[in-house]
Amino acid sequence: MTAFLLTLAGAALACGLELLEALAIVLAVASERGWRDALLGAAGAIVLLALAGVVVGPIVLASIPLEPLQVVIGVALLLFGLEWLRKGVLRLAGRRAPSSSLAEYLVEREALHALAPPPPGRPDWAARVVAGKGVLLEGLEVVLIVAALGAGDEGLAPALVGAGIAVAAVVAIGLIAHRPLARLPESHLKYAVGVVLSAFGVFFLAEGLGVEWPGGDAALLYLAAALVAVSQLQVITLAREAPA
């Protein structure tokens, strides 16, 4: 049950935050160059992501035996998780700008504003490419995280349910426009995702190397607690060292 809930929460948070960034880019393209080209670019990227999901999940991961698979997903989750955790620590210590999809939205709008629009009646390839690239890059991380979390003992169900909750939440935010983007504590949420993904990474990597965790799945809780304790110490240390 612990693994199920943590997988669901980790997938929902990670997917939600990545999709929020993709949404910011699509909204920026739509508001600057129109919905048609923004949605066409995003739709092209979603088709590519569906193909990537089929290749990574049912084909690549399904063909690897259990213990090597646990090592592979452990390494993948550690690479993602530690990167999110590193950035989270730097943001909470004031050593890096806070994460903000709203800021990303404004930057993308400004960049598109500088690009000349196509003649009337011609397809706006610049807008399509910007929207498509944004959705593809953010979505690829979602595909890899869901596939890795779904390769665990609990199967794909909790990861897919978490991803589904994230999609619904992000679509709702998109429908209510960009105002809620400014209110989300994105830096703290990303830090939490870093903790969860890193805990799963250590858990699966050790299991793949023949380790039996004391307490079984409950090990995820004390792994997460240990990562929070260590990373908060790093936040305090880095904040103290920050130039005044």
Partner: protein, 61 residues
């Protein structure tokens, strides 16, 4: 695009993939050597590797 994909998979600093690789190699070596304590306590070695990797990556930016 390639640079962004590389950043997506490997992150912004080489210290993270390097640290994860060192942790993995240490785990594989210990698993192969098979010391008595490994199956019960090896996870904490992996946790220490992850924590050390994080600490180094925060120092070398």
């Amino acid at each position: 695009m390639i640079a962004q994909l590389r950043k997506l998979v490997l992150g912004e600093t080489w210290t993270l993939p390097l640290g994860v690789a060192v942790t993995l190699v240490a785990g594989l070596a210990l698993d192969a050597a098979g010391p008595g304590w490994w199956h019960r306590a090896g996870g904490f070695v992996m946790l220490a590797g992850a924590v050390a990797t994080l600490a180094v990556s925060l120092r070398r930016r």
